[in-house]
Assembly symmetry: C2
Homo-oligomer: 148 residues x 2
């Protein structure tokens, strides 16, 4: 049957497409992809450096620099943990929170537009499938709510 890719090919290209849209929206807000991911991870609650490192699968030393560059733009701040004097709590500033919300909305809109180009039936399936994969494969909450 013509026009049908194997599953791996379809997955890689779909991933490429989603990533391109993500990067595009990042660019319109002057953010890099890692910076936007960081802010999305902080969207719902402040986190420590180690926690961020685990969620974004980055080395701790990488997170130090990433946080520092976003902090320089006043989108987030570091504060000392009350309970652990080694630890730091990273949280969005009001400006950062606002930008993240806008960004999140825009990504959601773009991807929803994508999905509307297909039959409702298929959309429901996609939703179920992706949800299943994401849950069984233990994908960190780099976007959307933490709870499942």
């Amino acid at each position: 049957m013509s026009g049908v890719f194997t599953t791996p090919v379809a997955l890689v290209r779909l991933s490429y497409l989603v990533n391109a849209i993500y990067a595009d929206v990042c660019a319109t807000h002057g953010l890099s992809v890692p910076q936007a991911q960081l802010m999305c991870v902080l969207k719902d609650s402040p986190r420590g450096m180690g926690e961020i490192s685990a969620m974004l699968r980055l080395d701790k030393s990488s997170v130090t620099g990433l946080v520092e560059r976003v902090e320089r733009r006043d989108y987030l701040r570091r504060s000392m943990s009350a309970t652990d004097r080694r630890a730091i709590t990273v949280s969005l500033t009001p400006a950062g929170k606002a930008l993240t919300d806008t960004f999140y909305e825009e990504i959601s809109q773009r991807l929803t537009d994508l999905a509307t180009s297909m039959p409702t039936d298929d959309r429901d399936h996609l939703n179920r499938i992706a949800t299943h994969l994401v849950l069984t494969e233990d994908v960190p909450a780099v976007f959307g709510p933490v709870a499942s």
Copy 2:
């Protein structure tokens, strides 16, 4: 209904998952993600710098460096175009071709494994959906065959 994400969230996380697998396989072969993408793009036929630039959506000057680093490892070579003396043709060396084939197989395997964790019915749907999106959105052939 618990455990079900909205479509945008599912898409972003699925994309993250696929990308993590891709990056993982890259790492086992000592390749970076952009390097592997470059080699996959050259898998089936040699291409010019401009063509590569368009398919990977990179600035031409970025491609210069990327190609140079992969060439340094003897995975590809540049040769002059016969028809256009400005142009260059980038093609995989035998070693590069071999590595790319192995890499490609491995990614395919990992992603096929992913897919087998779900019902056959869902797998077919995913295939149809992703194929549809990829075709209507004109995603470049960064993986798999060029033809549709």
